[in-house]
């Protein structure tokens, strides 16, 4: 049977197939190019953080330029006043092509603290004039060549040209070097024994809560009914740890470890008690697991505390770039981002305290309470559009409202407080939108059933809606925080400083004192604007630190989300 449609001219099948292939390949390529950008970006940012020694080339001499030169300069001495060597010796390798044969010479350079001591290296047909030169610090000296072929220069050992007084970093080193000491550092314990014991106890209680073994459970049986004793005991030990550790960060963490492990133990004992009252064997772990109140939640917080305090109590993680070194305007390689790091933490903290309660409250009002009036619509529209306002406009708002005095200005000056408020205002619409999304995704059946048993509106919100929406709200808030953590533009306007040589004072805006502060993105901005290459290495290192910090925050957000999601729909 011939169909009417077969009378029509057919499209070329092969062309359609080719189009299909070409089209899909093209689309895949566009995705690939995006990924390529990412890899190039990571590569280009990682590379400058590895500092290399001097490498270069003395260009060949010609009839117009009889002697070509290459300038070298080291900032700091490699020998002390007695002429003894500090750190590695600087060795340069000069290589050139001598009629097909490769000639290589090593030259040792000694840098003394005397200035204007100069000795040049001369290369000619017969070879290198000297094997060892002595020059003064910060003195330029030259490699001169009268050869008609290029001479390649490569530094084999020793500090890089602009390295600091200790001579480090040596050739080919990573800017963000880290020292990790386990338990003992230079013959001393890294933290007070009390804190160490607290950490171990926390570890044990986590193991016990996750995988209890029968003998241990039997042993704990005798403790049933003495929860109160356990609790007060742990409080006492916590206070003792605090006192013994002189209220340092380790001491606080140790005290927290005591309290959390006591909470875990108490929950477990209560569970065992419940099992016993039902006349069951307490060593039945499967049953015990279910009788422990909120075991998953306790475990989550305990694990997070364990991991975080591990950085301070059993280990001593020392990243000088991040937490010890201030910026040093004369020695790029000796600089760090300590003040920017603490500045970032303070700004974030203040922004969080300012914005989270207000934004979550606003989200609850808009989703749960507000009638669809014109006012509500206006607020909703403002929130949506504020989220898209350029960050620098928020900076100008902060400048006029928080920084400057007079008019509507609060006159906090270019301080951490003003910066934190500005960032908080900026984070607000983002948090409101994320929280609204989370509240909206709570099924209305939950609300209806709660109203059904006679809850008031606030009780419904507090006891039923908020717990289900909390993971979404938390995730949204952390993501908003990580977004504003990378923002530099508003703080440039608010007045973050380029050079801060001390720890920031968070309340300086009110109490007076030194207002100056900086944050990591600002530090990157100013270091990038410096002409000298060494500062770009530092900017790259700061970028990597910032990206890692953001990645950590984002992964915490994702972990939290997954944990709560699992708990909501097991």
């Amino acid at each position: 049977m011939k169909k009417d449609i077969d009378l029509l001219k057919k499209r070329n099948r092969r062309r359609r197939d080719v189009m299909e292939k070409v089209g899909s390949t093209g689309l895949a390529l566009s995705g690939l190019i995006g990924l390529m950008f990412l890899s190039v970006l990571v590569w280009q940012i990682a590379i400058p953080t590895f500092i290399e020694g001097e490498t270069g080339e003395v260009s060949p001499a010609s009839e117009f330029i009889p002697v070509s030169e290459y300038i070298l300069k080291w900032d700091h001495p490699t020998v002390d006043d007695n002429g003894d060597l500090i750190g590695d010796e600087v060795v340069l390798r000069l290589t050139w092509d001598d009629n097909g044969a490769e000639r290589t010479h090593d030259v040792a350079i000694t840098v003394t603290s005397e200035r204007n001591l100069r000795e040049d290296i001369v290369v000619n047909e017969s070879g290198v004039s000297t094997d060892a030169v002595t020059v003064g610090k910060k003195t330029k000296f030259y490699v001169q060549s009268s050869l008609t072929v290029p001479v390649e220069i490569e530094q084999l050992t020793g500090p890089v040209p602009a390295a600091d007084e200790t001579g480090s970093p040596a050739v080919s080193s990573f800017v963000i070097s880290a020292d990790v000491d386990v338990l003992v550092s230079e013959g001393e314990l890294v933290s007070h024994p009390f804190a160490l014991v607290a950490w171990v106890v926390l570890l044990v209680s986590i193991v016990l809560l996750s995988y209890p073994v029968t003998p241990l459970l039997k042993g704990m049986e005798s403790l049933i009914g003495r929860q109160r004793m356990l609790r007060f005991g742990s409080y006492g030990l916590g206070v003792l740890t605090l006192l013994a550790g002189a209220f340092s960060l380790e001491a606080y963490l140790g005290a927290a470890c005591w309290v959390v492990s006591a909470v875990g133990m108490n929950r477990m004992l209560e569970g065992m008690e419940r099992l016993r009252s039902q006349g069951r064997d307490i060593t039945q772990f499967d049953r015990l697991k279910h009788s422990i109140t909120n075991r998953e939640g306790v475990l989550l917080w305990a694990r997070m505390l364990l991991v975080f305090s591990a950085l301070f109590i059993p280990l001593l993680v020392d990243i000088p770039f991040l937490t010890e070194r201030y910026q040093d305007i004369f020695q790029p390689y000796a600089s760090g981002i300590r003040s920017a790091f603490f500045g970032t933490i303070w700004v974030m903290g203040i922004a969080m305290v300012v914005s989270m309660p207000v934004s979550i409250g606003a989200a609850i009002y808009l989703e749960e309470y507000a009638a669809p009036t014109g006012m509500t619509k206006l607020i909703q529209a403002l929130v949506t559009n504020l989220a898209g306002v350029p960050s620098i406009v928020f900076g100008m708002f902060g400048l006029a409202v928080f920084v400057k005095q007079g008019g509507i200005g609060m006159g906090l000056g270019p301080s951490i407080l003003a910066a934190g408020f500005t960032m908080g205002v900026m984070a607000m619409p983002i948090i409101v939108l994320a929280s609204q999304e989370a509240l909206r995704s709570v099924p209305s059946s939950i609300r209806e059933s709660a109203y059904g048993v006679g809850c008031t509106q606030w009780q419904v919100t507090r006891d039923h809606v908020l717990p289900s929406a909390m993971p979404g709200i938390m995730t949204g808030s952390i993501l908003a925080m990580s977004r504003i953590m990378g923002e530099a533009a508003p703080l440039v306007v608010v007045g973050a400083a380029a050079l801060v040589l001390f720890d920031p004072e968070p309340l300086a805006g009110i109490t007076g004192g030194n207002l100056n502060f900086t944050v990591i993105p600002i530090q990157i901005y100013f270091w990038t604007s410096e002409p000298e290459h060494a500062w770009h290495s530092m900017a790259a290192a700061a970028s990597i630190s910032l990206i890692l910090l953001l990645a950590t925050m984002n992964s915490v957000a994702i972990l939290l989300r997954q944990h709560f999601r699992k708990r909501l729909n097991p």
Binding site: K3, D4, I5, L8, K9, K10, R11, R13, R16
Partner: protein
Amino acid sequence: MSEKIGGEVVPDSTRELDIDGELDLMVEDLDLWYGAKQALYGVSLPIAKNSVTALIGPSGCGKSTLLRTINRMNDLIPICKYEGKITKGDVVITDKGADLVELRKNIGMVFQRPNPFLKSIYDNVAYGVRLHHSPTREQLDQIVEKSLKRAAIWDEVADRLHDLGTSLSGGQQQRLCIARTIAIEPDVILMDEPCSALDPIATAAIEELILELKKDFTVVIVTHSMSQAARVSDYTGFMYLGRMVEFNKTEKIFSEPDQELTKRYITGRFG
């Protein structure tokens, strides 16, 4: 042989597959898995030319899966695997190297929910034709008009061919989708519960249309409504838990089914 599943005796897929007239499509021993879960167990089904074959059975028994395998729409689901053979004349549809474009052009499909494209009514119908042919403007106009007439919707839309297809009512949308399918003149039209989203009046219109389409096309229809199957179909297959429990002429199935299970399902005393 039979199997006992959940207190129900389920016979193996039936082998008694007699049809009158010319054979159009043949499904032989089809096994199908979604991941690890098997959805079809050795299903066979002959489909007669220019007839209406109905597939009935409770939800989740594999009717739609079987239908979607016939024009290989299941290939879109990555975890779906199948074994067995579906043939249409000399062409083996389940062959790996089968030309899917040609196949789907010859075996059209109408879906459960009406799914007109976000285009005008005219373009919706012309879409398929333009894919496969390069007609002139007049030819295309003719085809569109003819298809809409055959789908019994021409009178309702003739004056607004350039409105969006989505602006029509549900029943009209479904008839538009049928018009879209018959515009490229396939041999077989598969209908996956075409009336489940429609009201009784629209359903009646579609059923009438199916009886009309039978003259030119082979129709396979999946339906939940037994009365609909009885009204429109020539052959009926009853499926249960992925097996073809019984296949026969419609009058036969609805008057004296061979299997106890079929009888219970048809009379509504099920489960």
